[in-house]
């Protein structure tokens, strides 16, 4: 019987209101005890003094690029980046080649993750076949196979009728519909946030209303159908407010925000920085502050990275033709802890936004430290100072606007199912 003792840390599980100095005993991959001064002589012990011991972090918005786009990332490298960032579970988006719209692709992802991956992987199914927006994927079978949610992430479901039927169909399967809320006609050929910076740089802007209009539609469809709607990567003040109001009137809606949207604004695009190009784009300071407020007041349920690896060749080009997206798994935790130091949220809320919050958004059976539960545990050094270096990122891709930044805090040990999947040396 394999055992592991995590000794002397500050154990913090927001889902249970747990915040005390104690030990955790792991037996056979499960949490056997959470108590003060567990005496387990001869058991392999991790000294957690000075560390936060939290449920394994959960990222519900990741692009693992596998199958088909392995030159950007694959399930092995992506989950390696995840555990290095403190994540023990990730949900991966279906815009792979082929698209995850079938049992075969879902099984491939789950099998590869189980045999070669470093953390748990929850595949997200596409809503429509081939992400084409015109016919429903086999959501029932995909749900059975292990897809807790469906999304056409990367593009919106443009047809309101299609989205309505997807929600109606998904609801009895207890499947969450994840909306990539964007009105493509309003986006047009836009490549960054519409506003003074875009005007100055001579780049075509994407107005906030492109997101807000689509968010409003999807909230109304959730209201009509009763389906659980999760709004991915909210980036505008208006979207946050729409979700806030919807929650107040009881709509079954949750949402997430990314570290880059609560950290950066469109000012980061200056110099035509293609690592500041993503979709939705970095917005104004007003939007950034609204996201911070939403994280603090509970409107936003989760922090998710939208980890979007792209090859150097796809970013080392003119801004207009650079791919959208940045890697985020290895910088999310310190950027979230920065919100605590800045007084935006407290530590408990920060950990909630990275654990039980995201798990609840998709109904994933993770994100808690409970006796009997799988031992997914992250040890965090909140003080650790480090500088983001491209060659030290575990992801195959290095497209991060935070390269060169000095950050504080990080995972020192990531335990998945009782096994140490990552330890900072």
């Amino acid at each position: 019987m394999s055992k592991l003792l995590i000794k002397g840390g500050r154990v913090l599980d927001p889902a249970q209101g747990l915040d005390k100095s104690c030990d955790i005993l792991v037996e056979d991959g499960r949490i056997a005890a959470i108590e003060a001064n567990i005496d387990a002589a001869g058991v392999e012990t991790i000294d957690a003094s000075g560390r936060l011991v939290t449920p394994g972090l959960v990222d519900i918005h990741v692009h693992l690029r596998d199958p088909g786009l392995e030159y950007k990332e694959d399930i092995v490298s992506g989950t390696q980046a995840a555990v290095a960032g403190g994540f023990t579970a990730v949900a991966c988006m279906p815009n792979t080649k082929p698209v995850n719209d079938s049992l075969a692709v879902t099984r491939y992802i789950l099998d590869k993750a189980a045999t070669e991956g470093h953390c748990r992987v929850f595949p997200i199914a596409s809503i429509t076949k081939g992400l084409a927006g015109d016919s429903l994927a086999e959501l029932g079978e995909l749900r059975e196979a292990g897809c807790y949610a469906a999304s056409d992430d990367g593009k919106p479901v443009a047809s309101s009728e299609m989205m309505r039927r997807a929600m109606e169909y998904a609801r009895p399967f207890d499947m969450t519909i994840v909306s990539h809320a964007e009105d493509l006609e309003l986006v047009g050929a836009g490549v960054m946030n519409e506003g003074p910076v875009a005007t100055e740089l001579g780049l075509k802007g994407i107005p906030w209303v492109a997101e807000d209009a689509a968010t409003a539609r999807d909230i109304m469809l959730a209201e009509l159908t009763g389906c659980h709607l999760h709004v991915a990567h909210v980036s505008t003040k208006g979207s946050v407010e729409l979700v806030r109001q919807a929650k107040q009137r009881g709509v079954n809606v949750t949402c997430e925000a990314t570290p880059h949207h609560f950290t950066l604004t469109d000012e980061a695009v200056r110099g035509y920085n293609t690592n500041a190009k993503m979709n939705p784009p970095l917005r104004s300071e007003q939007d950034r502050l609204a996201i911070c407020a939403g994280l603090a007041d509970g409107t936003i349920d989760a922090i998710a990275t939208d980890h979007a690896p792209h090859h150097l060749d796809e970013k080392n080009v003119e801004f207009n033709i650079a791919m959208n997206g940045i890697v985020g798994l290895e910088t999310a935790l310190p950027l979230t802890l920065q919100l605590v130091r800045d007084g935006v949220i407290d530590l408990t809320r920060a950990i909630e936004l990275l654990t039980s919050g995201p798990a609840r958004c998709l109904g994933l059976p993770v994100g808690r430290l409970e006796v009997g539960a799988a031992a997914d545990i992250t040890l965090i050094d909140p003080e650790q100072q480090w500088t983001v270096a491209a060659d030290q990122l575990h992801s195959k891709s290095k497209n991060s606007p935070f390269v060169g930044w000095s950050l504080q805090g990080g995972a020192v040990c990531t335990i998945v199912g009782g096994r140490v999947a990552f330890a900072r040396t």
């Binding site: 875009a198 740089l201 802007g205 801004f319």
Partner: protein, 314 residues
């Protein structure tokens, strides 16, 4: 005074003193263009590549003549941004050009920021000859030179810029250049062609209509309506555009009696400017073209860092 810029990426990077120096240098070079033998040895032995990835006649010709009059070897390459789709990246194209050791690359490109991209990746000087909807610095400088010639100064002038501001790199460069030299800029154009935050670029007022913009103006600059770029959602018709945003013999009377009329070319006669105004006594449009050569000579000279100004006396 020394010119501290290796590249000319935009007016935004230039100080009032830099602009002053470029204009003064342009004035000094202008005389060469009226000589019998229009050539000085100033840039002899220098190689200038005019890399035009987007169609251009006037600007390419102007840069080429400017280089030749200074005795530089000038080479033109034309391409389209679609060559990127065919395979070679802009970086590879630029590095191949660089391997042949030019001193200056003059670049025109459809993507905003392309000259900045090159400046970060090659060793020679980069001169922006127009990038996307971002900047067209040499156009703004020739505009300033022309205004200064006719008005004596730029300080305190009221300048109206009318047309498609959103897609205009000329407008952006002119706004920076004019306000940095102390002019006040008034903008007018269709509501679909006024970009948000444009007033943050300088001393700029956005007017509700064209008449407010040109009222009592010292300078009226008309922008080209880019027929080939407009989608159907931006304008109902050219007929209506001409009616509300075209300069004609009637509305030009609102400007000061001695106001000058400018246009960066090529003109759409009868659309943004009536022939009566384009060919009228107030127009300085061909002066702009003539000054374009002189100001581009100044730019090529200043970025090449050649010390001896007296060589031009040759």
């Amino acid at each position: 005074m020394a010119f501290g810029h290796k590249h000319i990426l935009g007016i935004e990077q230039l100080s009032r003193e830099d602009i002053q120096l470029i204009l003064d240098t342009g004035d000094a070079f202008k005389e060469i263009n009226s000589r019998d033998i229009k050539k000085v040895p100033t840039l002899r032995g220098k190689t200038i590549v005019n890399a035009f990835f987007e169609a251009s006649t006037r600007t390419r010709l102007s840069f080429e003549i400017a280089g030749k009059r200074l005795s530089a070897d000038t080479v033109n390459i034309a391409g389209s941004t679609s060559s990127v789709v065919k395979g070679e990246t802009l970086e590879d194209t630029a590095k191949n050009i660089e391997a042949m050791a030019p001193d200056i690359i003059v670049i025109r490109h459809g993507h905003s920021g392309a000259p900045h991209y090159l400046a970060e990746r090659v060793g020679c000087s980069i001169v922006n000859a127009g990038d996307g909807a971002h900047e067209h610095p040499s156009q703004a400088l020739l505009d300033l030179m022309t205004i200064r010639e006719h008005k004596g100064t730029i300080e305190g002038l009221e300048v109206a810029i009318v047309g498609d501001i959103t897609h205009s790199r000329v407008a952006r460069s002119d706004i920076y250049a004019l306000t940095r030299m102390g002019a006040r800029v008034r903008l007018a154009g269709p509501g679909t062609m006024i970009p948000p935050g444009i007033e943050k670029l300088g001393n700029v007022v956005v007017c509700r209509n064209m008449l407010d913009a040109i009222d009592n103006a010292d300078v009226v600059m008309m922008l080209r309506i880019q027929l080939e770029r407009q989608s159907k959602t931006l304008l109902p018709s050219l007929r209506e555009y001409a009616r509300f945003y075209g300069l004609n013999p009637k509305n030009i009377k609102l400007a000061k009696a001695d106001a000058i009329v400018m246009h960066p070319g090529p003109m759409n006669r009868g659309v943004e400017i009536s022939s009566y105004v384009a060919d009228g006594v107030q127009n300085v449009i061909l002066d702009q073209v003539a000054n374009g050569v002189a100001v581009r000579m100044a730019l090529l000279y200043l970025v090449s860092g050649v010390e001896a100004m007296e060589t031009q006396q040759g």
